[in-house]
Amino acid sequence: MVSGLWFLAAHISRCNGQVRALGVYKPDQRLGRKAEGLLAAFHGEVLLMAHTDSSKGTASGMERRGFLAAAGATALAFSLGAARAARADEKPKVELGLIGCGGRGHWIADLFQKHGGFKFVAGADYFEDKVKSFGDKFGVDASRRYSGLNGYKKLLESKLDAVVVESPPYYHPEHAAAGVEAGKHVYVAKPMAVDVPGCQTIADSGKKATEKKLVFLIDFQTRANTLYQEAIKRVHNGDIGKVVNGEAVYYCGETWGNPTYDANNPEERLRHWGVDKLLSGDVITEQNIHALDVAAWIIDEAPLRAFGSCGRKGRSGAGNVNDHFAVIFWYPNDVLLSFASKQYGQGHDDIGCRMFGKRGTIDTHYGGPVSIRGEVPYKGGGSGNIFTDGVVTNIATFHDSITNGKFDNATVAPSVRSNLTTILGRTACYKGTTVTWDEMMKANEKLEFDTKGMKA
């Protein structure tokens, strides 16, 4: 009970941080309507969690409908399963395991459950209290709750169809690769990795998944938004002419708050991974990837080199993430991108991208307006609650891909490119020099988290 209360408190704190990070597009206004709605949604989730004990087990007991994860047989299995379903509108159930049962894990598990085509049958987290909280809420049998560093391995050895990887970014490549190796469909949160080898592992896992007829989906919410898709398609088709230059920004308050803890204790670092440079990949990779991914999506190239700087002046607490970045990226055809971010304090919030061509400008804001101005204007509109809607769409895509045997795993390559773009910017900032893409790839630097003293 004590650990449960601790978790709730931590969760609320994180949620507040996340809301601030959303950067609702209203210059000089701290929280817009969307963010407030989201905050309410988070509070709603917390209330739900408070009722966990009384609702324990209600999510279980739904009969599984002929799902098989066996390669090549998936679509057929579903069609047979669907035919046997008692109700025609009942979706085939995909049996899921959650790896990473923290705040985000709980939040997304709720959305998976609401989809109706999934059932959580197992959970793994380093921390036992988090697995318990998750298991209690989602009706996961006590025998299928795994903790410790190797808990995910036990989860993957158990009988299930797919895994949702919501662990700290440092562990995503390891967990996702193991999922594919175990023959499971894999749903991975962004960022996919904190270093170049990790990105390579994700890229390889995506290819291997396709070979094994498994779905491997990267959960980038913005890419699932139809306004972004339409506007960027128009740019790709030529509506603003060739992109000359642009800017990407991510301005927000303290995501994950400013917690105090013993930063020499690896378990404490793991609990507070969001403010830990190594475990999160630093702010430019962990959060700012949303802005740089949109720029990369528009330009549709990998940058050639980057120069930049960063610092930590606005934040407090035991974490060591930087809180502001400024980077210049050079792309092929002399396309210049200026990038800036901050993650502290009050004031202007925005996750935005503007790219300029001779015939027009594309202007995008996460949760705010998306439009093209110029010779061929696109009115676009408000992009709404991307934070939730994007995930809901991706979950539906994940289910559809599994049930209909779509294994092209098209989200992987562009997502890995965006992830590497953030690492290039970070490397340039840390070194204070110009770093080329080739140098970064050749260096292949791996970040290492010392787990000495932690439970296996």
Partner: protein, 278 residues
């Protein structure tokens, strides 16, 4: 009614007063001679795919047979957008399609004088709203005594591909097929200067994007369908083929565009479908 060529030459028509054929490219006269009497315009023996006839208006139409296509693009196609989900579409009825985009001369003959940003009889009629294009088709129907209309999106892609499953209707080299950002010098060009597709249709890639009858939805209904006609409602209409200002990827067979039907755009025109009696 006139019987003409297979679509490989450059013609223009002065309409409607004299209704005489004006052939700019005399080298192609032999084509006319070759085919005269070889095909019937709107009846008789079943026309061959791509067989060209001229309507009463003088507008040339190519015969498009009934058939099937894989609409959309494969995941590995360069420049693909996720909305281009591959699905089987059956076109159950043959139809005829304008060999070229409607030209300014043709527009003037049917609708009367108008001015645009670019002027020239053989240039495509652009800066026409979707409703303007529909009105043109209605008036043309009166002239032709045949139902004329905009193509559905599925008919457009079917006709554009002309049996091809590649990025472009013929080969991989767009510059031979159409006017686009890399070769158009920021302006439209006279129709039918580029190589036609296998069914004799010119400028399906580039020059001006072309209105289709469908409301736009993304992605389109990606299940197997017969004669799909798009969403029941929407706010924008489909345009296809890319334009003189489009990048290569925007001119692919599967590339989808859309526009506000009330807008007049320098980059958007149309071509006509004439229905075939069965």
């Amino acid at each position: 009614m006139r019987i003409l060529d297979f679509g490989f030459s450059i013609f223009d028509f002065t309409l409607p007063s004299d209704r005489k054929l004006k052939i700019k490219n005399r080298k192609c006269l032999f084509c006319v001679c070759l085919v005269l009497g070889c095909a019937s315009a709107f009846g008789g023996d079943a026309p061959k795919p791509g067989e060209v006839v001229a309507g009463v208006s003088g507008i040339k139409f190519a015969f498009i047979p009934a058939g099937e296509l894989e609409m959309g693009s494969p995941a590995e196609e360069k420049g693909r957008e996720p909305e281009e989900v591959l699905h089987r579409v059956k076109i159950s009825r043959p139809f005829r399609m304008g060999v070229t985009e409607v030209t300014q001369a043709q527009w003037r003959a049917v609708m009367g004088q108008r001015r645009g940003s670019f002027e020239g009889d053989s240039l495509p009629a652009a800066e026409v709203t979707w409703q303007d294009a529909v009105t043109f088709c209605v008036k043309l129907s009166d002239i032709e005594k045949k139902k004329c209309r905009l193509p559905t999106e599925a008919e457009w892609e079917y006709a554009c591909r002309a049996g091809s499953s590649k990025r472009f209707s013929v080969g991989e080299e767009l510059s031979a097929l159409g006017w686009y950002d890399d070769n158009a010098e920021e302006k439209p060009h006279p129709v039918a200067q580029k190589r036609p597709n296998a069914w004799g249709l010119h400028d399906m890639h580039g020059n001006v994007a072309e209105w289709c009858s469908d409301f736009y939805q993304a992605p389109y209904a990606a299940t197997a369908a017969t004669d799909p006609a798009g969403a029941q409602q929407g706010t924008s209409r489909v345009v296809r083929g890319g334009s003189w200002s489009a990048f290569e990827r925007g001119c692919r067979c599967a590339s989808r565009g859309n526009a506000n039907p009330a807008h007049q755009m320098k980059t958007v025109g149309f071509r006509v479908v004439m229905e075939v009696d069965e």
